[in-house]
Subunit: 520 residues, 2 copies
């Protein structure tokens, strides 16, 4: 491969090294000055001299301010530039450049499971959720037995899974922060993949009582002898401490009886042809590198545009990876009110981080930096490329169910496993995950299509990466081609025609609902 660099925007004074082995001092790429020093793949070369204090520009935006004289051909790296201030939330343009509605893409369909509530699943799962971590091993024990003893009789059900988490007790349940994990677990419990209705195991004495999670459940008029009795629905929730359960084996048998009824219902479900508007595609990046914003993320953006044109809901997330690009997003919001909600989510997170004596610079991991990312500004500008070019139709707060069609911002932390959990809570039924460094992360609820930002990763991990966006960097594929191929892969995976690698290996990360409140 010839020496190759990519300049993203005509105003940029840096370009990114493409060659997998990096470039040596003296290399002469066609689009850059002769290199003064060796630069690894994904890292940046100065296209022109940058004086101390002057901006480093990528994506046409300021990603850093030089802390020393950087000559043309030098490596623009972390120790030579400091991070600029984040965009001020007070002065942002709101809905000033709303993209027009794109041309509809008619007749796009996939094969999914229609639920009674009208939402559609990409899997048919028996999922037993939990109101508290205390009961997790009991539910896992029961699920093992369900898999062996019951599941073979219900061949249309894909799997039985224990939906466990770390929340539910030992927390300040009335603190403001508790609202987020409670509503998240509520939505996770009635996710389309589980049939849209909760089937939960509670301990009984936990802080997060079943009726906090399932207020809509039919109330049973429980014994009223105590003023603090909480009523609960027997339809949905099995409480291990209830009088009629006599210890562990009895509880497990009760869970099995409970599960058998639900399995009979789930077993009647069949995939049918559904319009693309029933898709809720969650986009995420993790283990990002400088290629993320060149290849995989913009290819995902092209696929996102196609999905939006086909009528689907597409959600992007990760507040700290949006914060430094928010000035590019508020103009794209469909209305000033949507822009205000987006700004509110940024402000909330700024304060949340400050309360822990941190700020958005706590994002960017050592791997991000090794992959060539200067700081969170460069990472964010690459991250939001996933959102494509259409108008932002709605903003959902952490754990809120998304109901709008089109492009939506669903607030989540950027932590991979927390983001995935929160996107599921928001109603995601299909997941696309881009990665430059590589991760075996996966989810039991929905297929995860994993996109490599660079070919060396795709080649090194052939049994984990579903799509290689690397050819975009070498010029072998256009972004439009890559986006179209990914769009097709998403439809195939959602329909069960393509089995993702994480599904093949059953690599399912535990859910981690976002809990900004204190532990007691």
């Amino acid at each position: 491969m010839q020496a190759r660099v990519i300049q993203v925007h005509p105003d940029d004074n840096v370009a990114v090294v493409v060659n997998p082995e990096g470039l040596a001092a003296g290399a002469r790429p066609a689009e850059a000055p002769e290199l003064l020093e060796a630069i690894p793949m994904g890292h940046k070369v100065a296209l022109a001299p940058i004086a101390t204090g002057e901006p480093v520009r990528r994506y046409g935006e300021v990603i850093g301010l030089a802390t020393e004289e950087i000559p043309a051909g030098a490596w623009v790296r972390e120790d030579r530039a400091r991070m600029p201030e984040p965009p001020r939330l007070e002065d942002l343009p709101r809905a000033t450049a709303v993209p027009p509605a794109p041309e509809p893409l008619e007749g796009v369909t996939f094969e999914g499971f229609l639920n009674p509530d009208g939402r559609v699943a990409t899997r048919n799962l028996l999922g037993i959720t939990t109101t508290v971590q205390c009961v997790a091993p009991t539910v896992e024990h029961a699920v093992e037995r369900i898999r062996k003893e019951l599941l073979p009789r219900f061949p249309n059900v894909d799997d039985a899974v224990a939906i466990t988490h770390d929340y539910g007790c030992g927390v300040a349940i009335d603190a403001p922060g508790a609202a987020i994990p409670i509503r998240s677990i509520r939505e996770l419990s009635r996710h389309p993949s589980l049939g849209g209705e909760p089937l939960a195991v509670s301990l009984g004495c936990e802080k997060m009582q079943p009726d906090r999670v399932f207020p809509e459940a039919r109330l049973r008029n429980a014994a009223a002898e105590l003023p603090v009795v909480v009523e609960s629905s027997e339809n949905y929730v099995l409480r291990l401490q209830d009088e009629h359960l006599r210890g562990f084996q009895d509880a497990v048998n009760a869970i099995l009886a409970f599960a058998e009824k639900r399995l009979a219902e789930l077993d009647r479900r069949r995939r049918t042809t559904r319009p693309a508007s029933d898709l809720v595609v969650g986009l995420q990046c993790g283990g990002s590198d400088a290629f993320s914003g060149l290849t995989a993320n913009p290819a995902v953006g092209r696929a996102a545009d196609l999905l939006v044109r086909a009528g689907a809901t597409v959600m992007f997330s990760e507040v700290t990876e949006v914060r430094d690009a928010v000035h590019l997003l508020t103009p794209r919001c469909a209305t000033p009110e949507v822009a205000d909600k987006l700004i509110d989510e940024m402000r909330w997170y700024d304060r949340y981080l400050a309360s822990g004596e941190a700020d958005r610079s706590a994002n960017t991991s050592p791997g991000n930096k090794r992959g060539g990312l200067l700081n969170i500004v460069e990472k964010a500008l690459g991250s939001v490329a996933k959102s494509g070019t259409t108008a932002i139709q709605a903003v959902a707060s952490h754990g809120e169910r998304v109901t709008a069609k089109g492009l939506v911002f669903a607030a989540t932390p950027a932590s991979d496993f927390v983001c995935g959990t929160q996107q599921l809570a928001a109603g995601m039924n299909m997941h696309v995950f881009t990665t430059g460094r590589g991760t075996p992360y996966g989810l039991a609820y929905v297929p995860v299509v994993k996109v490599a930002t660079n070919t060396p990763l795709a080649e090194r991990w052939p049994d984990l990466i579903d799509v290689d966006a690397g050819p975009v960097a070498s010029g072998a594929q256009t972004l439009d081609q890559a986006g179209r191929a990914l769009f097709e892969k998403i439809l195939d995976a959602a329909s069960g025609r393509y089995e993702t690698w994480t599904d093949k290996w059953r690599l399912y990360n535990d859910l981690v609902p976002f809990n900004p409140g204190p532990v007691t």
Copy 2:
């Protein structure tokens, strides 16, 4: 059973109803006035009239202030009393009533596994720890294979376990709060049950780089081409993103090869007779009720005194369940400096809760209240009964390894699964757990002896409760008898002579390291 109530302290103006079915209006217990209304088991009857604003006393301490006139024989319940202020941290007596060293109990031993570092384990486990949640399903997949393919060849190893958690990335790793989960995971990785040395799987790009967790590991001079490369030990840590690993199957095979070497080492371990001074017993209560402070907790206190006399380390924990009883503990601290550390831990937690707009009243769960506990003050006074009567020799902060012998306060949250995790990090090799409401909680690392506070629970859950402390309430057993029996049970479980119920069912809760810092 005759109508029976228990008055804990001669100054008390309430007593606790003992009868499992509660007492009806008109009941006449020997030690209390005629009941004016029905009172459930575990709840309190007024022994004398309590005027509005006057104190409700139990354990000789003020547990509430009456918010209405409470006549003698009435039910003293949550809506009739408000919580008093917590003890002021500024005015506490420090080491003013240090109990004398108790008479030594000579010759007490158990059978344990001695590690090279001198610490002793109660189990012989292959534990593969993780630096980040992203790799958890990969490690779980590998551990399943290890159990099937390798473990049968190493009969002296009890089990192979994946030590997974929710920490490691998507967190503000440089924020002050991050120190706690990092040191906790370090200690969990070199726990005596795992042989005292870490064996860990890392992704590579995560925030919590291996060398943050294992700074003592032998450093390998890794490729120096990037300024931000973090060096790591190949002895201990396998990084999935390292160049030589080619995807998922290759990574799993590498973990198996890694595990096989460690299994060969672990398989040479044998139990030998060890002095009781090698025991580190962690005490916890969860799903407490008003009997906790009458039966199980004081029985544990008697056992704790015997263990201290035998030379063992005994740790009690749960900051929010100590906070309101701290004025009873600071006089017992061995030195003013120990008392200061105890006060510092209370102050730190007060601030932590305030930062999330909560306070210690966030403790007490609905189950606690149904069990008769008025508030956190009554719960705390019952909780600290576990600490027995000896001097507090040392105070460890969250996740710090305990090295002192005798009674130690190891700071942890009160959340059952977080407390258990943090006590393991502090070096616990044996766990005692009291419960009034019942919980199937267990730990893979060490035996958990579960003590019921009341006989109805012990009878209802015969396959989960190891010890019934209920006979103390009926008068069929003295606290000394119950404490002595528990002491023997602890030695039997630690030695592998008694299999606890959670071990029988393999009910092992995931570890939840305490993370007071923000998620990014």
